[in-house]
């Protein structure tokens, strides 16, 4: 593959996840260097940083038929409502539950980025179960908003009580 900016072979394959849409770049060493030193990056530690991903990242859906792809794209997270297509075009997920809802699509992506698929290292003291339970609040709040919009006030008030119950459960 040739560099997108000159005739030399592209040796750097960069997926830029910062900014609006993820962008694939194929550059020679010199242009890759130029690109990496002139784009915003993570000026504050993170800052910001999600950094440009100067790493070979395969297209997540290589080898799948257009039909399968369209199906995967249309799938939506039951908690926050984002579709996989929206994630693909924005490069950012909608809520923690997306990692569960889009496991099939995200697993190869995550593996390509990190070369690993399991967390090693620090964990919060409280259980991950309580984390997942609290993530359901996102769904309940969304359902409550929708109930109000549709003038289903009885349902909305039930949801509100349910939300309050979970919210006031001791965090610590």
């Amino acid at each position: 593959m040739k560099c997108q900016q000159c005739e030399r072979p592209a040796t750097f394959h960069i997926t830029e996840l910062t900014g609006g849409k993820p962008q694939e770049l194929h550059l020679c060493e010199e242009h890759a260097r130029h690109y990496l030193t002139t784009t915003g990056g993570e000026p504050s530690g993170s800052g910001g940083m999600a950094a440009a991903l100067a790493q070979q990242v395969q297209q997540m859906a290589i080898g799948q038929t257009a039909e399968e792809l369209a199906h995967l794209d249309q799938q939506a997270c039951p908690v926050c409502g984002i579709t996989f297509y929206e994630f693909r075009s924005q490069g950012r997920l909608g809520c923690p539950h997306d990692y569960v809802a889009f496991t099939k699509q995200l697993e190869p992506l995550i593996y390509n980025v990190h070369g690993e698929s399991e967390h090693v290292g620090k964990r919060p003291r409280r259980s991950s179960g309580s984390s997942e339970e609290r993530t359901q609040l996102i769904r309940l709040r969304r359902e409550m908003r929708e109930a109000v919009e549709n003038e289903l006030y009885e349902k909305a008030s039930e949801l509100r009580d349910q939300i309050r119950r979970i919210e006031t459960e001791q965090v610590a």
Partner: protein
């Protein structure tokens, strides 16, 4: 404490001391964290943002991570003040330019900052002058623990800490070291360094990346992978590679001296001369010349100046710092005049002050 006071000081990471401070500007670690019960920022409603900010503000204030915390609501701040925080690396450019409720908590020594409603709900970063990643890691993990006692972070049994972008999932950790590598740039060896870092999946980027050139010969080296390796291992990987690069840079400097001490001295002196006499000067040119002067100071070619002086000039000649000091909005042409005035005053004053001491 007022934001304007920041323009009088340099902040922790520019102190110019700590191990290897001639080449390593700063050591920095950041952690990305999200609350389990809210959508990630891109999908959050304005009410969500308000609630996230309130919960994290309470958690930060009550966890007493510092007894001298400056808490700033960024959505109530003027653009120039937000820019000032960006120039000091206390918030990211994205955080400054975003919309909606967002905030930052900074300790007064500027050793750490906690960004709320950035790309993730919470971004904790700790910075230190010089090369000292272990100490930075110890500090940040203690802050993280203190906050975690009061909130429920989004965490998955197998994937670890969940982040808005899958590139940060797992540890949510970014370890970075800012290096000043002028001799590797002059001797055109910097590409080689990039290539070898690329192979071990470390990222290299410019420090002040907004311009069209790699400015000031500053490079930031950081880990790319955040999943499947422990925090210790990720810190260690950067920790192991930095001394190798420092060594390359030192060798390149020795090579330049050996090859032609006169040429090198000439380069440094001319840069110093322009900075002391220019009447109008762009940010890019200032960075470029300061880089040569900084190396000259390290090599003992400009005995009048300290590294801390140069570090300060790098920051104080940035647009928002200039404007805060003059107290008004300046267009680009006026900034160039003001920048030149500031440089002349600073560099000629330094010389005068030192002379007075010697007498």
């Amino acid at each position: 404490m007022e934001i304007k006071e920041l323009t009088q000081t340099s902040g922790e990471w520019l102190r110019g001391d700590g191990p290897e401070a001639d080449i390593v500007i700063s050591s920095r670690v950041r952690l990305a964290r999200n609350l389990a019960e809210f959508p990630f920022i891109r999908r959050a409603t304005p009410q969500d943002r308000v609630q996230i900010e309130r919960i994290l503000r309470d958690a930060i204030i009550h966890s007493q991570v510092s007894n001298s915390l400056l808490y700033i609501a960024l959505d109530e701040l003027e653009a120039v003040d937000r820019q000032l925080l960006v120039e000091r690396h206390l918030i990211s450019r994205e955080h400054a330019e975003a919309q909606g409720r967002r905030a930052v908590a900074i300790d007064k020594a500027e050793k750490f900052s906690l960004m709320i409603n950035e790309e993730d709900h919470l971004r904790i970063q700790v910075m230190q002058s010089g090369f000292n990643l272990q100490s930075v890691w110890q500090q940040i993990t203690a802050i993280d623990d203190a906050i975690e006692q009061r909130v429920t972070y989004a965490f998955h049994e197998r994937l670890g800490y969940l982040t808005a972008c899958p590139t940060n999932v797992g540890t949510g950790l970014r370890v970075s070291v800012m290096l000043h590598l002028p001799a590797l740039v002059i001797t055109r060896q910097i590409e080689k360094v990039f290539r070898s870092l690329q192979k071990i999946s470390l990222a290299v980027r410019g420090l002040f990346g907004e311009g069209s050139q790699a400015m000031g010969d500053f490079y930031q080296i950081s880990n790319q992978i955040t999943l499947g390796r422990g925090e210790d291992e990720l810190v260690q990987q950067v920790n192991d590679i930095v001394p190798v690069i420092i060594d390359y840079e030192r060798q390149a400097r020795q090579f330049l001296i050996k090859e032609s001490q006169e040429n090198l001295h000439d380069r440094v002196s001319r840069a110093y001369g322009i900075l002391r006499t220019a009447q109008t000067i762009s940010s890019e040119e200032t960075m470029h010349l300061l880089s040569s002067v900084r190396m000259g100071v390290n090599l003992g070619l400009i005995p009048k100046l300290q590294i801390a002086d140069i570090n300060e000039l790098f920051i104080h000649t940035q647009p928002a710092h200039l404007q805060k000091r003059t107290g008004g909005e300046l267009d680009s042409a006026d900034r160039n005049i003001e920048r030149a005035r500031y440089l002349r005053q600073y560099l000629n004053r330094e010389e005068g002050a030192n002379r007075a001491e010697k007498n």
